[in-house]
């Protein structure tokens, strides 16, 4: 679903670049909050425990260090998995988007950053997905795919109480919704009328989404993923 340059007009691509930058900075600040702890250090202290001129500094926690490693691994996995296009119906293929998978494993904002990093490398290094369309692709697959998909997953998980069915449905939904939004962007750009592009995009991605759900569930099983209920 990587939009090349030219499909979207400059107004649409431009606004989506601005939106993507906004979401990226929001994601960075949300992820940062979880990575640091405030540590009070006394500049002067007596053996009795009295402290003078103490300052608080933020310190990267071992959780943060660990999470960065996991983000890099999930990014590498999503990139690799996206290379494997699977056949859907005759003459059409699909591949994992990985938004819901990354978000379930890492949380919505870290998941979104990982997808954005994958999309940036794919565009800048492999010319997969346009440069001007990178904002649109980050919105569709990162923001809608990972953040939107994550909240769909949480909504479903609270009701079904089972990780795998909730993940499968959310993964499927994230692909169909991302494809539908892509159709809207195409129609706003005047490339194709909404009815045509919407039915075609949602239709084919309803099938591709099944693959998304399957791969997402397989990876979660492989990692023996369990939900902590404290979120």
């Amino acid at each position: 679903m990587h939009i090349p340059d030219g499909f979207l007009n400059s107004g649409t691509s431009g606004s989506l670049i601005v939106a993507a930058v906004g979401f990226l900075s929001l994601a960075v600040s949300r992820v940062r909050q979880g990575f640091f702890e405030k540590v009070r250090t006394a500049t002067l202290a007596t053996p009795e425990g009295a402290e003078f001129g103490s300052t608080t500094v933020a310190k990267l926690t071992s959780y943060g260090r660990n999470k960065m490693f996991r983000m890099a691994v999930v990014g590498a996995f999503v990139f690799a998995a996206q290379m494997v296009d699977f056949p859907v119906v005759h003459g059409t293929s699909g591949h994992l988007l990985g938004g819901v998978l990354a978000a379930i494993l890492l949380g919505p904002w870290a998941g979104m950053l990982v997808i954005a990093a994958v999309l940036a490398v794919q565009s800048l290094m492999f010319a997969d997905g346009g440069l001007v369309a990178l904002g649109a692709n980050i919105i569709n697959m990162g923001v809608i795919g990972a953040v939107g998909g994550y909240y769909a997953y949480r909504f479903l998980f609270k009701r079904i109480k089972k990780v795998l069915p909730a993940a499968f449905i959310a993964a499927w939904l994230s692909v169909v919704v991302a494809a539908s939004v892509c159709a809207v962007e195409l129609s706003v750009s005047g490339t194709e009328n909404l009815a045509q592009s919407f039915s075609a995009m949602a239709g084919i991605h309803a099938l591709i989404g099944l693959g998304e759900g399957l791969i997402t569930v397989m990876v979660l099983i492989g990692l023996k993923h369990k939900e902590k209920n404290n979120e």
Binding site: M1, H2, P4, D5, G6, F7, V28, V31, R32, V57, A58, K59, L60, N66, M68, F69, R70, M71, A72, V73, V74, G75, A76, F77, F79, A80, A81, M83, V84, D85, F86, P87, V88, G91, T92, S93, G94, H95, V114, A117, V118, V121, L124, M125, F126, A127, G130, L131, A179, L186, T191, S197, A200, M201, I204, H205, I208, G222, L223, K224
Partner: protein, 97 residues
């Protein structure tokens, strides 16, 4: 905890380097729609020459070309995210500024 992720990293490299050879070469969902609806020709060429366009490493063997591109891409994504993490979330923020 991290052990599982080390396995996931190894699987990622296997997929990027080997499983990627079995990828379908059919157009993806969006490309197919663009072909069917006749707006595929509105796609523009990428604005500059990228390192490995179309996931092809410049060697004569097409399998090797894909395997190398997949492996390099997987490694690059891994390193870029680690590097971005070091820059965005430095261990001692403010120490360098």
């Amino acid at each position: 905890m991290n052990k599982k992720y080390i396995y996931l990293a190894l699987i990622a490299f296997l997929i990027g380097g080997i499983v990627s050879l079995f990828a379908s070469s059919s157009p993806d969902g969006l490309e197919k729609v663009a072909e069917d609806k006749g707006f595929i020709q509105t796609a523009l060429d990428y604005p500059f020459q990228t390192l490995l366009p179309d996931y092809t490493f410049p060697v004569n063997n097409e399998y090797l070309a894909t395997a190398l591109a997949g492996t390099i891409g997987t490694v690059v994504v891994f390193l870029i995210i680690l590097l971005a993490g070091k820059v965005l979330f430095p261990a001692r923020p403010g120490a360098g500024t």
